[in-house]
């Protein structure tokens, strides 16, 4: 991500789902600072579903833990059962729970990325740029619908030098369970090998 890069989020529409009002304020505040004007806030999975039935979004950020329907199930529903035109909408899971099994759950429900709380504006903007620029395959099969999970072998676009670098060491993941991972540890799960641009 280059400071001199130009971004325009004026016309983008985002749906933010979090049951913690203060956390919601932080995410919406950060996105608004980036120039995103059309932001819809929802506190539960079913409320988000209703909104998604009613209108299309360019970006969805959801907490993992939500009342009634969690962020993973919401994403799974979006990928499988929402209006066909909305199924490819980029989804970023924003969560405090970053244990290995939870990261895998986010990956397997069809989310594009997982961001660790507390939210860092730089990380947030970089991930938005990644999903906007990214040209990942969308996979639909009996057991999965979502962005290609083998994307790890491609890594984030090399145009973003602050992400993982070619000389970064590969990461041996710990035992299932493990501790809550930091954003750096989450990023380290992605090993760049070539540009996806």
């Amino acid at each position: 991500m280059q400071p001199s890069q130009y971004i325009n989020l004026d016309k983008a529409r985002a749906l933010i789902v979090d049951d913690n009002p203060q956390s919601l304020d932080i995410i919406v505040g950060v996105l608004t600072s980036f120039g995103l004007r059309n932001v819809v806030r929802k506190a539960t999975g079913p409320e988000a579903q209703d909104e998604l039935r009613y209108q299309a979004f360019d970006l969805i950020l959801t907490n993992d833990t939500l009342p009634a329907l969690d962020g993973y199930d919401l994403t799974r529903w979006l990928r499988r059962e929402a209006d066909e035109a909305h199924r490819h909408t980029p989804v970023i899971v924003v969560t405090s729970h970053t244990r290995r099994d939870q990261v895998e759950k986010a990956r397997d429900c069809g989310a594009n990325f997982i961001i660790a709380k507390p939210v860092s504006p730089a990380i947030m903007l970089e991930r938005i740029l990644w999903v906007a620029k990214g040209d990942r395959l969308f996979i639909e099969c009996e057991t999965y619908a979502g962005p290609d999970r083998r994307w790890r072998n491609q890594g984030p676009p090399v145009e973003f030098p602050d992400g993982r670098r070619r000389d970064d060491k590969s990461i041996e993941l710990g035992e299932v369970g493990g501790h809550n991972m930091s954003q750096d540890e989450l990023d380290a799960l992605i090993k760049p090998m070539r540009s996806i641009a």
């Binding site: 989020l9 004026d10 600072s33 490819h88 938005i128 969308f138």
Partner: protein, 157 residues
């Protein structure tokens, strides 16, 4: 074998972002930092409330499973707002508490003691200026509590 359908993701977001207008990344981040600054005090007050909620849960007579779940939720809330702190130690301590609770089978005296140490440490670190030298022994202590608890867990398992 089931059929696998592949298509190329072409997010509309990408097209929108390259349209004329907008701002530089540097400006966007500067504005976001200013927004975070305005949200600092409300977030710190939110952490005050979550710490009070942790204390109330420690004193409550809910059953173990409900208490563990609620304690976990509140420590997770603290993690969410911990970006407002001047130090990273609150986040580390709250994550450590999440780990302790996540791995606990019940609120045994040993787990309960561990939770109390974590809550006391979070109180100590909350609103404190950044001082890694001063905070390191506290965090090391919490890491030891977690390790000890994991050792006990393995011993029982």
């Amino acid at each position: 074998m089931s059929e696998v359908k592949k298509s190329r993701m072409k997010p509309r977001l990408g097209q929108l972002m390259t349209q004329k207008g907008g701002m530089y990344v540097a400006e966007a981040l500067k504005r976001a930092d200013a927004t975070m600054e305005t949200l600092r005090e409300p977030s710190l007050t939110g952490i005050d409330d979550y710490i009070a909620a942790l204390d109330a849960l420690l004193a409550s007579d809910l059953d173990d499973a409900a208490r563990i779940e609620a304690l976990y939720a509140r420590s997770s809330d603290i993690v969410s707002l911990s970006g407002a702190e001047r130090n990273k130690a609150v986040q580390i301590a709250a994550r450590s508490l999440c780990d302790l609770l996540d791995e606990a089978d019940g609120l045994t005296p040993s787990v309960l003691a561990g939770v109390k140490v974590h809550v006391a440490s979070i109180k100590l670190l909350h609103r404190a200026p950044d001082n890694p030298t001063l905070h390191a022994p506290i965090l090391q202590g919490l890491a030891s509590v977690l390790e000890k608890r994991r050792g006990e867990g393995k011993g029982q398992g």
